[in-house]
């Protein structure tokens, strides 16, 4: 596609206007020169999340689930209302399927540490892919070292997509869990999780989807997908840090033992025996991040108001514009993202180290990520020590991409031999 034809279809239909949206994000008023292209690491926060969280502390704060007094009841209501917003966001059947955790990493560790030892035995297999973030590799290695499961890895193909045939070939009756990313954080590869889930279930395996990069942009329907677990983090969906979500199908969660003990997760405690709560509270020991959950609810309101279809359309148009712009820079090689690339432009600039690229970009006020993106096995597979990664959010537009392109060209001029 040519630049001209991209311009004519941009901004995306539906009145999506990143320039106007940017006014909802105070960070841009406070950093007027900032070109923020690191939303895959963490997204900026809209005013509604920042102010709404502060407002909750000012007017409705108290601990949840315990107080008899009205303020505590109100706080509990807001916290549980946030849970229901998450339920709607994922189209889960029941609010009890939504467990609040700290982030995606904690969600995956919860499954590995609770479901893992309860349902897996030595020799059982957990199948992941080469596209995974360390957070969907290391928890399974810890489990492997603890109970002797096998960790099996499905490779990528030459285009940077998941090799579906190779994936299918690795499925067997020993496969008990498939744990896979929805959108790869280092490349932007969209994984066909519908097909993955169907195939895994045919072999009797459970499926966990890491939705960290998918949740901010893809409509996600856990019932239509049929996955057993779906995890995402608040801070990448324009919400606060410190709050994340584990969705688990109710029958699956109900069969899982607690993973942390303490207050909130119990029905009755004596020194002889303790009875545990039903999900989700069984998995939420101690006072939770109440304000974080409420802030996450506000962030999901923000996303729903924009509409994920509109966000996706906007970001795909901008991704296409970015691919087109960056492809014209000599010596720049974009990492393949398979059939469909979502919001991530990860590249190698010949003869220039990613940290030097990012340093020059920073001088041009362009914020990107440089390094291995917590996906060292993937980098090794691609023969790279790291890449420079620009990632998109709702507030980015083509002027950001143009400034990125110009800054990369400046870096090239400075370092190329």
């Amino acid at each position: 596609m040519t630049t001209a034809s991209l311009r004519s279809t941009y901004p995306a239909p539906g009145g999506f206007d990143p320039r106007r949206l940017r006014r909802d994000f105070p960070i841009f008023a406070n950093n007027p020169d900032l070109v923020f292209l690191d939303s895959a690491a963490s997204a900026q926060k809209p005013r509604s999340v920042i102010d709404g969280t502060a407002q909750y502390y000012r007017t409705d704060y108290a601990n949840v689930h315990r107080g008899v007094y009205r303020l505590s009841a109100r706080s509990t209501e807001l916290y549980e209302e946030a849970r229901d917003k998450v339920r709607r966001f994922l189209n889960a059947a029941d609010h009890r399927e939504i467990v609040f955790v700290r982030n995606t990493t904690e969600a995956i560790n919860l499954v590995a540490q609770s479901w893992g030892p309860a349902f897996l035995r030595e020799g059982d297999e957990v199948l992941i892919s080469e596209l995974e973030h360390h957070s969907n590799i290391v928890p399974w290695q810890l489990l492997r070292d603890r109970i002797g499961i096998r960790l099996v890895v499905a490779p990528i193909d030459a285009t940077g997509g998941l090799d579906l045939a190779a994936f299918e070939a690795r499925l067997s009756s020993r496969t008990r869990l498939v744990a896979m990313t929805h959108v790869a954080n280092a490349t932007g590869t969209l994984v066909p999780v519908e097909r993955i889930i169907r195939l895994a279930h045919l072999h009797g395996a459970k499926v966990l989807i890491d939705g960290s990069q998918a949740a901010p942009r893809l409509p996600v329907d856990v019932q239509a997908l049929g996955c057993d677990f779906y995890a995402f983090t608040g801070h990448k969906v324009y919400g606060p840090t410190g709050i994340g979500v584990l969705y688990g199908r109710f029958d699956v969660l109900s069969a899982m033992p607690p993973w942390q003990g303490g207050g909130e997760m119990i029905l009755h405690v004596s020194f002889e025996k303790t009875d545990y709560q039903e999900p989700p509270h069984r998995f939420e020991a101690g006072t939770p991040d109440i304000a974080g959950a409420i802030g996450l609810g506000l962030a999901l309101d923000f996303i729903e108001e924009l509409g994920r279809d509109n966000i996706l359309e906007h970001e795909e148009a901008l991704t296409g514009y970015g691919v087109d712009r960056l492809s014209r820079i000599p010596g720049l090689r974009l990492l393949g993202a398979g059939q469909r690339r979502l919001a991530i432009l990860s590249f190698d600039l010949e003869g220039v180290h990613p940290h030097d690229v990012a340093q020059v970009l920073d001088q041009h006020h362009v914020a990107v990520r440089a390094g291995h993106h917590c996906a060292q096995p993937l980098m090794e597979r691609l023969g790279l020590s790291g890449t420079t990664r620009a990632s998109l959010g709702v507030y980015n537009d083509e002027t950001d991409i143009d400034r990125l392109g110009a800054a990369i060209e400046a870096a090239r001029g400075m370092f190329a031999r």
């Binding site: 220039v352 180290h353 990613p354 940290h355 030097d356 340093q359 020059v360 001088q363 440089a370 390094g371 291995h372 060292q376 980098m379 020590s385 790291g386 400075m414 370092f415 031999r417």
Partner: protein, 156 residues
Amino acid sequence: MMDLRELYQEIILDHGRHPRNFRVIETPTHSAQGHNPLCGDRVTVYLTLEGDRIADVSFQGRGCAISTAAASLMTEVLKGKTVADASALFAQFHSRVTGGPASDELPEPLAEDMERLEPLTGVKAYPARVKCATLSWHALEAALRGGDPGKTVKTE
């Protein structure tokens, strides 16, 4: 923010593009690998010691412009120095790149060498890049201390 030209001075860009002593010493008396887990960069430093004197020093590895130039300049200043000279230079260099004062304790020839390393001290304004400048020196120190080839030292 300071001008990027302070960080990437011409001599750094030159050594980054065309590193000196960028080769393997086949039978070193000492060698060690430096690893920066933050960026995955690795550098191996090779030494041939004759008594207390560094008869030859070289390096290999993959890194950014700063770490490549730092290793290259290090090998240049170290050739012919004693182990004690190398330690004194590293102490001074480390102090300078982390924003510490320049002490005037270095004897005359070493002070001149320190001047050659001065362009690298621009990293003090960029905390994330200090380790790029010190990686090869950490590897050198590990090589001299441990002495067994193949040893790896990390920056954190």
